[in-house]
Symmetry: C2
Subunit: 203 residues, 2 copies
DNA sequence: TCGGTAGATGACTGTTTAGTCAAGTTCGAG
DNA sequence: CTCGAACTTGACTAAACAGTCATCTACCGA
């Protein structure tokens, strides 16, 4: 009966429970119960609660990464990457809402902003993933400037501001279970980049 | 020796500890120790941990409210209110950093985004205060549109987006202890509102 | 001087927490 | 079949947790 998927069930249970509530509110016992795995097995697979959570963050990122790689593909015009990313955010959260019953925002961002202050492995991992995500924006903005599609300026600072807006919108959407706010991201996003609207498909 | 300020010390300890770490990571014992108050006294003043936290949120808001009232005074031109608010954010967080050693972002926003999912009194209070803050923006935007200083549009939606950006920037600033990001708020804020820059003081 | 009350105290309860461990079971390779 | 490794189990610990309570103290008005 028992296959080697107890580990996977624990990871998924951790993602589900922490994403829908918070890191501090989820206990090892709760994760075990949800995963239908006994305490002893938990510590057979993971050294600690934090060890599991770090693994859960990585696992979740592993599912998002290929999607982002496709969206931010270098074979796409840089502004089109951003346009797709903006659109992706609300589509993705609509899926999340269908699956979990609520808009949940960004998983590692929620964990990260809860845990930053105590420098644990969890906080480090969450920050690492946030930075990785921000770098997608940075690259797209740099490429856009390089081909003159965006006025010159510091792409790192621009990416920071844009990223702040996106994560803020995701958090607000989580708090108010509000998909509509996410649909406004493209409009405001382009404005924040100093553009009137999405790139035109001329020719 | 002991005056009636044990209650105040408990409130301040709760603000300090929760703001610098998180709601879930702070115990009643820790609050009591920091406030130099015994457990029994805690429950003399407060019915529960949550009761104290709600009071702490209210108390903290009570210190910010007069400042916001001044900044968003109706006797000021609406765009100047926003300009002052943008400037206030980084000034304020510089103070916070001087006091606490780190940029901490917005207190009730940090608590709120951690607690939203379980509908407790704490979550309700944090959301109430977030909404109160957003309403300052709404009013200023509506007034700005009324006097033609801002292009027409839905002021509620615009306030939501602007608020998302501001809270996102505060959270990023907290995560990365980054004041510079907050200094970029005016630039990006005006862009997001569809304006090239701050209002001109003509004549 | 007296009595009442607001506040202080520390020992207490019962529960939940993360984490441990010795003794199992299952199963595939040799 | 046999052995060992991977995995499972449930009972266990020690600490931390929120919350309780009877008792004490200090002060203030009558």
């Amino acid at each position: 009966m028992s296959r080697g998927d107890a580990r996977d069930r624990l990871i998924q249970a951790a993602i589900d429970l922490i994403w829908t509530s918070s890191y501090g509110a989820v206990s090892v016992d709760a994760i075990c119960e949800r995963a239908q795995v006994r305490k002893g097995s938990f510590y057979h697979f993971f050294a600690s609660k934090d060890d599991l959570v770090v693994t859960a963050l990585d696992t979740h990122w592993g599912t998002r990464r290929p999607v982002l790689d496709e969206i931010f593909s270098a074979s796409r015009p840089p502004l089109e990457r951003l346009q797709r990313y903006f659109a992706h955010i609300s589509e993705r959260q609509a899926e999340v809402r269908a699956q979990y019953g609520r808009v949940l925002g960004c998983f590692h961002h929620a964990v990260g902003s809860e845990c930053v202050q105590k420098p644990t492995a969890v906080a480090a991992k969450a920050q690492e993933l946030s930075l990785a995500l921000r770098r997608y924006l940075e690259t797209a903005l740099r490429d856009a400037q390089a081909e003159g599609a965006l006025p010159p300026g510091d792409p790192v600072a621009a990416a920071k501001s844009l990223f702040a807006f996106v994560t803020g919108a995701l958090t607000q959407a989580r708090v108010h279970d509000d998909l509509e706010l996410l649909r406004q991201i493209p409009r405001t996003g382009w404005l924040a980049l100093g553009m009137a609207g999405p790139p035109q498909r001329s020719t």
